[in-house]
């Protein structure tokens, strides 16, 4: 079974702090994704990566950056946390863009609260 783990289930940070969210997958997947989930807005893509050190902006990248130094690990960084970044953050991975299976496997999520 594919396993995607995230470093914390719950996190509370103060405004202006630098925040690191970590995600690890154990199935040698090429692609990794960071989403945020807010009520009524569904899952919105922040960034994704299709290879080590490669990254692409998603739909809402402002205020975030990412790092992928190893294939299995994808980090989301909030350079200066703000209250409007309070949300559920979900990490996902998928095998590849150009061969099946295409489904994304999600981690359990990190509930981040910025006060």
């Amino acid at each position: 079974d594919v396993k995607v783990t995230q470093s914390s289930r719950y996190l509370v940070k103060r405004t202006g702090e630098k925040v690191f969210l970590e995600c690890v997958q154990d199935m040698d997947h090429e692609n990794m994704f960071w989403y945020r989930q807010d009520p009524g807005l569904g899952l919105r893509l922040i960034y994704f990566s299709y290879d080590v050190k490669m990254k692409e902006k998603g739909d809402i990248p402002e205020g975030y950056s990412v790092s992928r130094e190893k294939k299995e690990r994808f980090s989301l960084i909030l350079e200066s946390a703000s209250t409007n970044q309070t949300s559920m953050y979900l990490c996902a991975s998928s095998l590849s863009f150009d061969r099946a299976p295409y489904e994304q496997y999600f981690g359990p999520g990190t509930r981040l609260t910025v006060t």
Binding site: G42, L45, Y50, E56, Y102, F106, P108
Partner: protein
């Protein structure tokens, strides 16, 4: 641009049927369906590819109408375990200039509650 799901919420009795729709303003090349139970991660249900056939999974099936840029998820004889939020994720030809089914744009979700 996010696809639009309808309805936003639906309440059923066990054994009843439901349809969840997903509409996009952009041309679609793939549609994924996921279900997220309360407090859990989203789980993949099925994928429909352009030119592909209708997919099924037990009593859950889906269709893909390329011309209308729509997909529908059909839940037949619903069970309590079907409760959760259903998301469609749409993929388009926007990455490497090829038909890419990896990067998805998700809808806002449809909450389904099945009561005994």
């Amino acid at each position: 641009q996010q696809p639009v799901q309808s309805p936003q919420a639906v309440i059923l009795r066990e054994g009843e049927d439901a349809v969840i729709n997903c509409s996009s303003s952009k041309a679609l090349y793939s549609v994924h369906w996921y279900r997220q139970k309360h407090g859990e991660a989203p789980v993949f249900l099925m994928i429909l590819l352009k030119g592909g056939e209708q997919k099924g999974h037990e009593k859950i099936s889906a269709s893909f109408n390329e011309k209308k840029q729509q997909s529908s998820l059909y839940l037949t004889a619903s069970q309590l375990s079907y409760s959760g939020t259903y998301f469609c994720g749409t993929g388009g030809r926007d990455f490497f200039g090829s038909s890419n089914t990896g990067k998805l744009i998700f809808g806002q979700g449809t909450t389904l509650q099945v009561k005994p």
